[in-house]
């Protein structure tokens, strides 16, 4: 028998997991709509959901194209940032001196606000995708690096003894034990980093002001075009949710053996 769990959206899954948030959002939307109508709130302060949906519908292709650009930048930044983060964590695990020299640098980058770094990168690399991807990469780096580093060290000593009892090399221990053991931690880092990468891409775009959802919001903000702002926020939220769901799906497939997925 081969162990293979199928992931199918069943009726009970829909009722338990999908229906409640939809219901909640509908209720919130209805209250919001009634409030803006009854209290006669002007659109430039708070647009009603219907106005936002109307704008969303009329500018759909523009919003989707811009959203696509932001998505590509976020994902590219996430991939570059996490790859570098994992490599750094491995280096730090290999040598104490590297750990002591690299960790403070990483910490320095982490505590510096992204909005302070973003304009610098835009000036250095120009009004193109590069600075935006870099912002997303930098913001992704730290959570993935720290989690990978902790993960590589969190190995079961009993299993390690099994490896040592047959004189396994450090390389064999690294490949067959340390890396797989670190995956639950790495994925925890990914789950923190993926929404951050969207924020990073958005902040980068906001400073270059000419592309993606950040670009749309930059213009809309200066024109007090609230329906456009809300539509862009909506797309940003959708991108964040899709990316998080993707990561969770991959995590579930790879970490079926981990305590956090057993008995679920």
């Amino acid at each position: 028998m081969k162990y293979n769990k199928k992931y199918v959206v069943s009726e009970s899954y829909f009722l338990q997991h999908i229906a409640p948030p939809i219901l909640a959002m509908t209720v919130i939307g209805a209250i919001w709509e009634m409030y803006t109508r009854l209290a006669k709130i002007p659109t430039y302060i708070l647009p009603s959901p219907v106005t936002v949906i109307d704008h969303f519908y009329n500018n759909f292709s523009n919003l989707v194209t811009s959203g696509g650009i932001t998505l590509i930048e976020a994902v590219a930044g996430f991939i570059i940032g996490s790859t570098l983060a994992m490599a750094t964590a491995v280096l730090m695990g290999l040598s104490r001196i590297l750990e002591r020299s690299l960790y403070p640098v990483a910490l320095l980058v982490k505590v510096t606000p992204m909005v302070a770094i973003a304009p610098l990168l835009v000036i250095w690399f120009g009004f193109n995708m590069i600075p935006i991807i870099l912002v997303a990469a930098v913001i992704t780096f730290f959570p993935v690096m720290v989690n990978t580093y902790i993960g590589l060290r969190s190995i079961n000593t009993g299993i390690l003894d099994v490896f040592k009892s047959v004189h396994a090399s450090n390389w064999e221990i690294f490949i067959n034990l340390r890396i797989p053991s670190s995956l639950p931690y790495v994925f925890a880092g990914f789950r923190v980093a993926i929404p951050l990468s969207v924020i990073g891409a958005f902040v980068g775009e906001f400073f270059s002001g000419n592309r993606g959802l950040g670009g749309i919001m930059f213009v809309a903000y200066h024109n007090l075009d609230m329906p456009a702002l809300f539509s862009a926020i909506l797309i940003l939220a959708i991108i964040g949710i899709c990316l998080t769901v993707t990561i969770s799906y991959v995590e579930k497939r790879w970490l079926f053996w981990h305590e956090s997925f057993l008995n679920r």
Partner: protein, 257 residues
């Protein structure tokens, strides 16, 4: 004469947060080829440390250990040592087959046929139907059987077992004891078994070594001259009860001393 396992003047001390703790003092122990030796003693005495030192996982502070005339590290390199711990320590992301194959894959020596060797041992512990199962899908007893197959797959000269049946329920435990005995009688490995169950020690071994509370010294030895093959019915015999009492007496003496 040098034994198959030969330990002389072994002591072990470790320092943790500036506190020095001695776990083993002047242990001298010989085990001849094919002998089944049990080690009993109060909990926390240092039985596990002794076993890990013999297996080369812990370095002795003083003293020497030879396995088949080699140092424990060298014995590890030749894959002469099979380990079985109280915790099965299976790799959660590998299925039963791959867990059992693991010691063959690591530090590979010859072009042995890994899958057929592994399958043989999986068959011997009666888990053939479970080769594709993952550890979290197995019961405690099944996991221990996988751990046993994994220890045996490299065909080690000596087996070091640290309360391997300690976490099992009574029924599973006695059937596992029988299984271990059968395999041992067939393969003739030299076994050192750490256990807190005197009953288990008498049932399984040729000789019982009794340790004092920490720091552990050898304070007694009981020879189990009961013919083999042995089975559960033995437990009701006079000689069995006598040996249990004898071992208990040595253990209790350490408490009052």
């Amino acid at each position: 004469m040098e034994g198959h396992i030969s330990i002389s003047g072994l002591s072990h001390t470790y320092v943790d947060k500036d506190v020095q703790t001695t776990t083993l003092i002047d242990i001298n122990l010989q085990a001849s080829r094919g002998e089944f030796v049990s080690v009993v003693g109060p909990s926390g005495a240092g039985k596990t440390t002794l076993l890990k030192t013999i297996g080369g996982l812990v370095k002795p502070s003083i003293g020497q250990i030879f396995i088949n005339g080699n140092s424990p590290k060298k014995a590890q390199r030749f894959k002469n040592i099979g380990f079985m711990m109280q915790d099965p320590s299976l790799i959660p992301w590998l299925n039963v087959m791959k867990n059992v194959q693991l010691p063959l894959k690591l530090n590979p020596s010859t072009n042995q046929d890994q899958s057929s060797r592994a399958l043989e041992w999986i068959e011997s512990v009666e888990l053939t139907d479970y080769v594709n199962y993952f550890p979290h899908q197995l019961s405690g007893g099944m996991k221990q059987r996988v751990a046993f197959a994994r220890a045996m797959v490299i065909d080690p000269d000596i087996m070091l077992m640290d309360e391997p049946l300690g976490a099992l329920d009574e029924i599973t435990r006695s059937s596992m004891q029988q299984h271990l005995l059968n395999v041992w009688e067939k393969t003739g490995k030299t076994v050192i078994l750490v256990t807190h169950s005197i009953r288990e020690a008498v049932m399984m071994s040729d000789r019982i070594i009794v340790l004092s509370p920490r720091p552990a010294k050898i304070i007694g030895e009981v020879r189990v001259n009961i013919p083999r093959p042995r089975n559960e019915r033995l437990e009701h015999s006079d000689i069995f009860q006598q040996l249990i009492q004898e071992t208990k007496k040595i253990l209790e003496f350490t408490k009052t001393a």
